[in-house]
Subunit: 320 residues, 2 copies
């Protein structure tokens, strides 16, 4: 039943970006610096700090440059930024302290692409050729392609796994055609449709089509299946997950908008799952729980993480 | 990878008892009646309505008789009560509308038994003979034995699975020695120590020792592994779970006491998991989500369920 569990799993922390971007009001720079530093101190190796997006549309992220400037960097940590257009990429490139990742974006659902990007999924795919060139010019190696709506879409409903595979194959081919190599396909359950069976099916099919490409997962806990989906993926050998400390974030496509729907899978709860299964993560769980509690103090309301409220088993085990 | 998933799973709802018993203040009878009726209306076949315990110690449950009297009963629903001593059982017996269950209680952890019951685990086991006799006198068939701390204990630490098996075997034998038959062993993860690997190991060992006895699970989501544990159990063929609507309840043994630690696994989230895996439950998920939202309005603060805040996939699927 253990399947092909990996010995080591990497969590890519997205809480600082996801969590504060979805909030209605901006949060003090000092608080967000403290959170990023606490996360880096827990042993996380990759942290998405902020996004370089239109400050008029997303004022919460307007101070991205100042945020990167204020962080005391820890060696070995990848401090990531997010951009959605060339302007954003050039801002990120011009910002000291941003560890640039050559990330591509593809949509499996055409309807979702049109709503989110004002273009079809096919046009979005074509545009990635320009991104590959931009990254090459900038000397940024390709890191991964994120496949939005890999498991389901609130506008198209169920996504046939063959479409997810076709999108994965197309983006991988595009990279090769432009002289690059795509190290990873990240299957994103953007709006919380995945279940363990779908996870297994899609991973199996993508792996069969692209045996040389690593598979990562970007999962949301929108409907409470996050931990079950991670378990299914771990036992398919997946060793990299995007996640958010304290479960920071939300879902703008929940039935009631973003009014309190759960966000990304919770980093410390999933690190705990790995550790309990004997999988290493390089993370100090107690420190990570401390960072989650800091996030809750900053946000100022109860967050979705479980472990941060209950405490881990370490103290009980030591006392027993 | 599907393992031996059952075709149908029964959820035994404990929210009305767990949820209101852990609160500091009593809640209006009418609200709790409305919640029980909403739960019964969703298709749940077993609902633990209240406990018959010392009203001086647990004033929140002092009106158990009045609560049962006020419920408009729905045919086919088992309206359960909880008792911890003979006095409580006789109160429940004397209360019209209580569907008596012949439930036995055993402790795997000796330290937990002493803290919770002022007796050793062995003494607690012996006392069950008296309960078997009481149930026989009252014409109440044995329903199950709940094995407290089956996976771990905050006072003893890890629980060797062989001790859980030994406790299961002992209580099953006790039933037979007293002319009864025990239909089910319920493995309880009382303080949130279980993980998917432990779930599989303990279920496998108990089943090997008692192949004729059904296995149920009483799980808490204390540390965020609830859904992963349910998945592991489903794929071991487990077809009965105790759970709480909206994730009502808490954990008095969390690091910070009961200050917001998650309670039982959340009924509607786990029903959703089953339905997504093609497992039937007899439950109308939309109605159950309605009951969860009612519970949140009654309690008056954000509850732990995910689906209740995001909405199910039904409306999206219908619109797609």
């Amino acid at each position: 039943m253990r399947g092909d569990r990996p010995a080591f799993v990497t969590f890519r922390e997205e809480g600082p970006r996801e969590g504060f971007q979805i909030e209605k009001r901006p949060f003090p720079l000092a608080d967000r610096v403290a959170l990023v530093e606490a996360l880096a101190g827990s042993g996380l190796s990759s942290i998405q700090v902020a996004s370089f997006v239109n400050p008029k549309k997303v004022p919460q992220m307007a101070d991205a440059e100042a945020l990167f400037a204020a962080i005391r960097r820890r060696p070995g940590v990848h401090y990531d930024g997010l951009w959605l257009n060339e302007q954003g990429f050039h801002r990120a490139r011009a910002t000291p302290g941003v560890d640039l990742s050559g990330t591509l974006l593809a949509y499996v659902s055409d309807a979702f692409a049109r709503r989110n990007n004002d273009c079809s999924a096919a046009e979005m795919l074509e545009r990635q050729a320009r991104w590959i060139a931009l990254y090459q010019e900038a000397g940024v190696p390709l890191s991964r392609a994120i496949l939005v709506t890999s498991f389901g879409c609130c506008f198209e409903g169920e996504i046939d796994p063959r479409r997810t595979v076709a999108t994965a194959v197309a983006i991988e081919r595009l990279c090769r055609e432009h002289g690059g190599r795509l190290p990873e396909i990240t299957l994103a359950d953007t709006v919380g449709w995945a279940n363990p069976e779908a996870i297994r099916r899609v991973i199996g099919m993508v792996r069969e089509a692209l045996p040389e490409t690593a598979i990562g997962l970007h999962l949301h806990d929108t409907r409470g299946l996050g931990a079950a989906n991670v378990l299914a993926a771990l036992e398919m050998g997946v060793d990299r997950f995007d996640s958010s400390v304290a479960g920071l974030g939300g879902c703008p496509f929940a039935e009631h908008g973003d009014a309190g729907a759960a966000g990304n899978i919770c980093t410390e709860d999933m690190v705990f799952l790995c550790h309990e299964l004997g999988i290493e993560t390089g993370i100090d769980l107690e420190r990570l729980i401390g960072a989650a509690r800091l996030a809750e103090r900053i946000i100022g309301r109860r967050l979705n993480g479980r472990l941060m409220h209950a405490g881990s088993l370490a103290a009980w085990r030591a006392a027993a």
